[in-house]
């Protein structure tokens, strides 16, 4: 009986879903590039030329920590000419697999990062915070790596990709200027981002904010009552106006922090989800530059109320 029910359910699902929401450009291409995350895909799309088709393993809004590949992903990787991944251990064990694939050019975006620029836990230098995409300098470094590696393998693309890269970098610069302008409208002592886990350290460092969170960068580490209490005290003392949710983490933790503050008489506002580990789905959140703007806009508007 249960078997029948399950099969029915599965068939129903199959019917009700539409196909073809995988990220790709519609241009028939010779060179196939597969990127791991949606953020990476967006960057590469901006550098890519007409001869290049860019695919993404993880779609927007998918948490890289719970990613489970299917045969489709295997086929994608198999047929790839170039495979690009974030590095700094973001993709976990899959990196071992990617590095071993024979044939395609495999690029680790973070390989040329200066060691000093990577944020690490002061107590433990080996643990590197992988959320570097919020630091535009590192992004520029990474994209330069990508462009030069691709050009090395496919010299015919060198000129065009370089041009695309320059154009994109210019756009990035103007966006970062805008972000910086927005952030500077926040009062000095309000420039604090408070979320559940440590995904925005690079953002904070790049734009002159500080971050205070409950958990470290790992989703396995858990916070305890002391962490909640300390954070609540911190927020009330500094009179921080708002705290934020993240788009892949449960709101339970932040809500309880908010409650703690309210009990102490400080009515802190619970802001909406910031984009941290992946791009958003809505129109105004689904590219990298828009992600920066969205985060900046949200943070600013809530902290300048």
């Amino acid at each position: 009986m249960r078997v029948i029910l399950k099969t029915l359910l599965v068939v129903l699902l199959f019917q009700s879903c539409d196909t073809g929401t995988i990220e790709k450009t519609a241009i028939p291409a010779k060179i196939k590039v597969v990127c791991t995350t949606s953020i990476l895909t967006d960057w590469v799309l901006n550098i890519a030329t007409e001869d290049v088709a860019v695919y993404s393993l993880l779609n927007k809004g998918v948490d890289p920590h719970v990613y489970k590949p299917s045969k489709k992903d295997l086929d994608l990787l198999r047929s790839a000419d170039i495979i690009i991944y974030h590095g700094l251990h973001l993709e976990g064990k899959i990196i071992d697999v990617l590095e071993k694939i024979k044939g395609p050019l495999v690029i680790d975006v973070s390989k040329n990062f200066p060691k000093s620029a990577i944020i690490t836990d002061p107590n433990f230098p080996a643990s590197q915070d992988p959320h570097y995409w919020f630091d535009v300098e590192l992004v520029k470094n990474g994209l330069a790596t990508v462009q030069s590696d691709i050009s090395a393998r496919y010299p015919s693309l060198k000129v065009d990709t370089k041009a695309n890269l320059q154009a994109y970098l210019k756009k990035m610069d103007s966006v970062t200027a805008e972000v910086q302008k927005k952030i500077s409208t926040i009062e000095q002592d309000q420039r604090i981002i408070i979320t559940t886990h440590d995904a925005l350290s690079y953002f904070a460092r790049a734009f002159g904010l500080t971050v205070n969170t409950l958990q470290g960068a790992s989703t396995v580490s858990e916070f305890g009552l002391r962490e909640i209490t300390d954070l609540v005290n911190f927020i009330c003392e500094r009179r921080v106006k708002a705290i934020f949710l993240e788009n892949i983490v449960s709101p339970q933790a932040m809500k309880s922090v908010q409650r703690g503050c309210q009990e102490k008489g400080w009515d802190v506002v619970l802001g909406p989800e910031l984009l941290s580990d992946s791009l958003g789905q809505k129109e105004d959140q689904d590219t990298y530059l828009e992600m920066l703007l969205f985060n900046a806009h949200t943070i600013t508007s809530y902290l300048t109320r």
């Binding site: 779609n59 927007k60 809004g61 998918v62 788009n247 789905q281």
Partner: protein, 416 residues
């Protein structure tokens, strides 16, 4: 903090029922089985509403328990295997659904599991109210159906013969289990919830075999651990609440395993040691008495009783020291003598030995050259009551002289 204590208490109690049915790991199974339920609820409703998701989770959790019970009822598969089968299959199905969603809908399903698997430090007032309600409900149900529950768990055949429906009672157990898990998981996550269902009953089991004390003790262990966990988590940084609760209750379980009276390991080892010592002491006394009877005089040493009873040197030293401390022997210059108490005690043992020999010979028709070895063991375990019974059976007077040898006692016994 109160919520964790309540959760610990209720889980501890509910866990007992599952523990006694050897379904201890039901928490793991139900928790993993909830994944498909959450996903289906999400697909059908299209939103990430916690209440809808929890309902979906509860339904698939419920289905999983039903499936486990069906499998065990109608086949030779045991409870623990059925749990493992259902866990991996439902979870596998959940992963299938998850990946199907991943490849079609670009995202927005991420973090679904985070919605229902929470952290003990961040429980909300709604969670607390939910616990309170669930606790009350569970307590009421257990009290109301106590008799039926007890019967089905400890004596299923009897229960069925007086008309209690196994199905209904199992259904009740499943119901309170699912209820606790659904509410608990949202607050504290999978592993913590499983742990609270498993460990308190395990600890309590070492202290008692009866249901009511077990429920109370288990509930207490769970609640206490929750309190400690919350306390530690509050007092020091980087000490997550859930894990510390688990560590606390595990320590309680380990301590119970070692030190609980009767079932504890340490206790059993200690009892064995005491027994060994007693046997050694009794053997020594008996040998000394026998020496006296044979006219070897009252003074004895290790060598002089060597033929009767062998003691290797260290054991001799220890045993004789203990006997001296108990005033059963006295040290004199060149050896030892028995005190009056010691002599009496030794003679008792000797007598019991002989009685058993006679019993084996007369009643069990055992041949003479075998009875001695048997009696060597049994002499330490015959109580006065058994003695009297045997004497009665053999038709002997209960006050016969113990110092006589057996063939002096019963003339018609043939010696080897």
């Amino acid at each position: 903090m109160l919520s964790i204590v309540l959760l610990g208490g209720v889980s501890g109690a509910v866990g007992c029922f599952n523990f006694l049915q050897k379904k201890t790991l039901v928490g793991e199974t139900v928790a993993h089985s909830m994944l498909p339920g959450v996903l289906v609820a999400f697909l059908l409703s299209g939103v990430k509403n916690p209440y809808i998701l929890v309902t979906g989770a509860a339904i698939s959790g419920w289905l999983s328990i039903l499936l486990v019970d069906t499998i065990t009822k109608h086949s030779k598969i045991k409870n623990d295997s059925a749990l493992a089968i259902v866990l991996s299959s439902f979870f596998g199905f959940g992963i299938v659904l998850l990946t199907m969603i991943q490849s079609r809908y670009s995202g927005n399903q991420s973090g679904l599991d985070h919605y229902i698997f929470g952290n003990a430090a961040a429980m909300s007032p709604e969670d607390s109210t939910a616990f309170a309600l669930v606790s009350v409900l569970v307590v009421l149900l257990v009290i109301a159906y106590y008799f039926n529950l007890k019967a089905i768990i400890f004596n299923p055949d009897y229960a069925q013969s007086i008309g209690i429906s196994t199905k209904k009672v199992n259904g009740l157990i499943s119901f309170i289990t699912i209820l606790s898990i659904s509410v608990g998981i949202k607050a504290v996550g999978i592993v913590m919830m499983s742990a609270l269902l498993i460990i308190p009953p395990t600890a309590a089991r070492f202290w008692t075999s009866r249901l009511v004390p077990m429920l109370l003790l288990s509930g207490f262990f769970g609640a206490f651990s929750g309190w400690i966990g919350a306390f530690v988590s509050y007092a020091k940084t980087s000490m997550p609440t859930g894990p510390w609760t688990i560590v606390t209750v595990s320590c309680i379980a380990f301590a119970s395993m070692l030190f609980a009276p009767k079932k504890g390991v340490v206790y059993q080892r200690w009892s064995k040691l005491l027994l060994k010592r007693r046997i050694n002491e009794e053997n020594l006394l008996k040998a000394a008495v026998q020496n006296e009877v044979r006219g070897k005089g009252r003074l004895f040493t290790r060598e002089s009783i060597l033929t009767r009873q062998f003691f290797e040197f260290k054991r001799w030293k220890r045993t004789i020291k203990r006997l001296a401390r108990k005033k059963l022997v006295q040290k004199v210059n060149t050896g030892y003598t028995l005190s009056a108490k010691g002599r009496f005690y030794g003679a008792e043992i000797d007598r019991r030995h002989k009685i058993w020999e006679v019993y084996l010979q007369r009643r069990m028709q055992m041949s003479l050259h075998l009875v001695h070895d048997e009696a060597e063991t049994m002499e330490h375990f015959l109580t006065p009551e058994i003695e009297d019974e045997i004497l009665g059976e053999l038709g002997l007077c209960s006050r016969f002289n113990p110092i006589l040898e057996i063939h002096e006692l019963i003339p018609d016994i043939k010696l080897p």
